[in-house]
């Protein structure tokens, strides 16, 4: 404990009291939440994010010598608090590099603000899906993959398991979802795929918070589906797995979305979670070079942010590392253009995010091969990948099954553009002409 305190002391010193004024500094605001219903998610993701920034400082002395500094602000996952944190930190330290609120509600509250303030808003794995159209949302980046992409990848995965997309004909798929804007988002795209592949979808909502699902699973038992897609949040996930076990539905045929597939969702369900498969844009485990590096440079020097070392390598922790990788890559890209070793403005950071290219070679350099998918951003495409990988819970840990699965990008993109155009019309926006921008 004493050691932990000491380590935190050092971490805080390094984080808050930056040494000297000579070196350039890049400021990263953290709209984090470590209390309340989602504290488990928040503490792991933001802890990892801070660890990654710390790792860059420790190993390379910052990005090309520009030290990273950050400040946390507690949002409590509450919109008003999130707005306050954003307003408090947006101009600090020469301008916020990026805003990552980790809450779809706060993301919505910030969309207009970041456009006015010219600060990039990066939402990886949540947020507003149609913001993937960079022409209408120049400042918003729902990066790597969105709920729609994930859904199409899941249907592909089911197709693979069934032995081909043509085998989906007549299959029954239940979509069990959190009854909110979040859960409902993919229904339309799933309907479209059902028409194309001939599977029979049924949609069963679970009222918030979802700590009771008996009636839903009895309904599922009536439907006798081949697959269940679980789109839950928080307590809804372990409850669903337990209920599945209760009616004897094979967990190998329950597919969770990426907010359903973490240790926090499976461990409380105990044995009932065994066999459960979940999607993700990052995988779990400590055996990736990037995790090892963070352990070596940050934790072995007692500068880690996580009080509990056993949480390193969990799904949420590794997701936080992905957020860190993306942030730092954007800085490298932007510095390559605007001057190496110089602190970047928010607008320059935006350019950086829009031009991130993380190919397989770069992934290997980052020590993240297989850890996250390759990403290539552009002016029109603010998603950049759409790939999803599946993991299975073996009762103790997540095991990766199969390779990255690509989303049905055409289908998703068409819907994104329709939706974004409608948004633009409602708001009276003129789209950017991406052909003119380099």
């Amino acid at each position: 404990m004493k050691l932990a305190f000491l380590s935190l002391f050092c971490a805080a010193l390094a984080g808050c009291v930056a040494p000297g004024a000579a070196a350039a500094e890049q400021f990263v605001p953290l709209l984090s939440f470590r209390v309340g219903p989602y504290a488990a998610t928040g503490s792991a993701i933001f802890g990892a994010y801070i660890d990654y920034l710390q790792y860059i400082n420790e190993k390379e002395g910052g990005v090309n010598g520009v030290r990273l500094v950050w400040e946390e602000c507690e949002t409590e996952y509450n919109n008003a608090r999130g707005v306050e944190c954003y307003e408090r930190l947006k101009h600090k330290g020469g301008g916020a590099s990026v805003v990552m609120p980790l809450s779809t509600g706060i993301t919505y509250s910030l969309i207009d603000r970041v456009a006015a303030d010219k600060v990039p808003l990066v939402t990886i794995g949540y947020g507003r899906t149609d913001a993937a159209d960079g022409r209408y949302f120049p400042w918003v980046f729902p990066m790597i993959t969105t709920y729609w992409s994930q859904n199409t990848a899941m249907i592909k995965f089911i197709g693979q398991k069934e032995g081909g997309m043509d085998k989906l004909q007549g299959r029954k798929i239940v979509y069990l979802y959190h009854d909110s804007a979040y859960g409902k988002e993919v229904i339309a795209i799933m309907d479209e795929q059902a028409k194309r592949y001939g599977f029979v979808p049924s949609y069963i909502p679970v009222a918030h918070p979802g700590n009771e699902q008996q009636s839903q699973w009895l309904q599922i038992r009536q439907v006798r589906p081949d697959w269940v897609i679980l789109s839950g949040f928080g307590v809804m996930n372990p409850t669903a797995l337990k209920a599945a076990a209760k009616i004897g539905f094979p967990r190998e045929r329950v597919l969770g979305v990426w907010w359903s597939g973490a240790e926090e969702d499976t461990q409380p369900a105990g044995d009932a979670a065994k066999g459960f498969i979940a999607a993700g844009f990052n995988v779990a485990g400590q055996n990736y070079p990037v995790v090892g590096e963070v352990l070596k440079y940050v934790y072995d020097r007692n500068k880690g942010n996580m009080p509990d070392r056993s949480r390193i390598g969990t799904v949420y922790y590794n997701r936080g590392l992905v957020y860190g990788i993306i942030t730092v890559e954007a800085m490298r890209v932007a510095q390559a253009r605007y001057g190496k070793g110089k602190a970047l403005s928010s607008e320059q950071m935006r350019w950086g995010f829009e031009h991130i290219v993380i190919d397989d070679k770069r992934l290997a350099e980052l020590g993240a091969t297989g850890f996250m998918p390759a990403v290539k951003m552009s002016c029109t495409d603010h998603e950049g990948s759409g790939k999803v990988r599946f993991q299975q819970w073996d009762g103790k840990a997540w095991r990766v099954i199969g390779d990255w699965i690509d989303a049905d990008r055409e289908l998703v993109r068409a819907r994104v553009e329709t939706s974004a155009t409608a948004y633009g019309r409602e708001k009276g926006l003129n789209p950017r002409d991406c052909a003119k921008e380099q």
């Binding site: 209390v35 009854d179 918070p209 700590n211 009636s215 309904q219 307590v235 409850t239 409380p268």
Partner: protein, 311 residues
């Protein structure tokens, strides 16, 4: 499977869940009876109790050197959690209730909200934000015998939990009817001033009741924690208890049970039979609408005390 069988299955499942709602509602009823406070912090207490138990279970092997799977550990953790709840009850009586004695109900209600924040912060501050599993040693699987004979799924765990709830409620109802403390409690509930004047120690009664409510919170925390994991969402169990309370009446222990059964059964049946017509998710509001209907007929809840208004 026949339609009737399905109906019976949904109904049984609903009734069993209803008893679990009643368990949480019980904590509210006790405190309301004794001090006329609608204790908003009950959900937070459930969370705190369960988290303390699991946290102790985690830390004890390191503190005491006991083997991680020894039975002693479970009892020790249970004892510690109980002690924590007792301590909490004493502190609440001393620091919150006593200074606020004789204040209007909404002030006390507000104070319990402050209390809820405090307890939530304390729980996660001390034990960390991790989500933890909790194993009570009873498998949440269908009972083979029932499945073979009727084709219905009745979970062993649910049956056990319902049994615990029923025992607890019966025990408490008897306790309050026949013991000295119970009678004193009813006197306090009836009229603070009169109870004081015949020599009933108000503060002691409050301490006892809050401690019992703490114990009930621990039991519900353990059962709900074993079902859904020990995490912040345990505080939401209070949401499930609200319609039960309203339906059963705030002052009645048996009312909590009957209310729980009605809410549990009807919300499941509504979700299955009405849900599909309107797009599902009706469980969120159906119990409240139902309670509203009941109240229009009987404005003081099923078992609540009728109040006479005198001008």
């Amino acid at each position: 499977m026949s339609e009737l069988q399905f109906f019976a299955e949904v109904l049984t499942g609903g009734l069993l869940s209803g008893l679990l709602y009643a368990l949480v509602a019980l904590g509210f009823v006790l405190i309301y009876k004794a001090s006329g406070v609608f204790n908003f912090a009950q959900g937070a207490m459930v969370f705190f109790a369960a988290l303390t138990y699991v946290g102790c279970l985690e830390k004890l092997p390191r503190w005491t050197g006991l083997a991680a799977d020894s039975v002693l550990l479970v009892w020790l953790a249970l004892l510690l959690a109980l002690a924590a709840m007792l301590l909490l009850a004493l502190a609440i009586e001393r620091l919150v209730l006593r200074p606020l004695v004789n204040q209007p109900p909404q002030t006390l209600f507000m104070a319990t909200i402050g209390l809820a924040y405090f307890i939530e912060g304390l729980a996660q501050g001390v034990w960390g934000a991790n989500v933890r599993g909790l194993e009570l040693g009873i498998q949440d699987v269908p009972m083979d015998w029932v499945l073979d004979h009727t084709g219905m799924i009745v979970s062993r765990f649910d049956l056990f939990a319902a049994g615990v709830a029923a025992t607890l409620v019966t025990g408490l109802a008897l306790f309050f009817r026949h013991s000295r403390v119970g009678r004193a409690l009813r006197a306090v509930a009836d009229d603070h001033q009169a109870a004081l004047s015949v020599g009933i120690p108000l503060a002691t009664i409050w301490r006892i009741v809050w401690a019992i409510a703490g114990f009930v919170a621990l039991v519900s925390g353990l059962i709900w924690g074993a079902r859904n994991g020990v995490q912040f969402a345990l505080t939401y169990t209070a949401l499930k208890a609200l319609p039960v309370l309203i339906l059963g009446g705030f002052e009645s222990v048996p009312g909590a049970i009957v209310g729980g059964l009605i809410v549990g059964a009807s919300e499941k049946l509504a979700e299955v039979y009405i849900g599909p017509w309107v797009g599902g998710g009706v469980e969120s509001w159906f119990p409240y609408m139902l309670a509203l209907l009941f109240l229009l007929i009987r404005p003081e809840g099923l078992f609540g005390e009728k109040h006479m208004d005198r001008v």
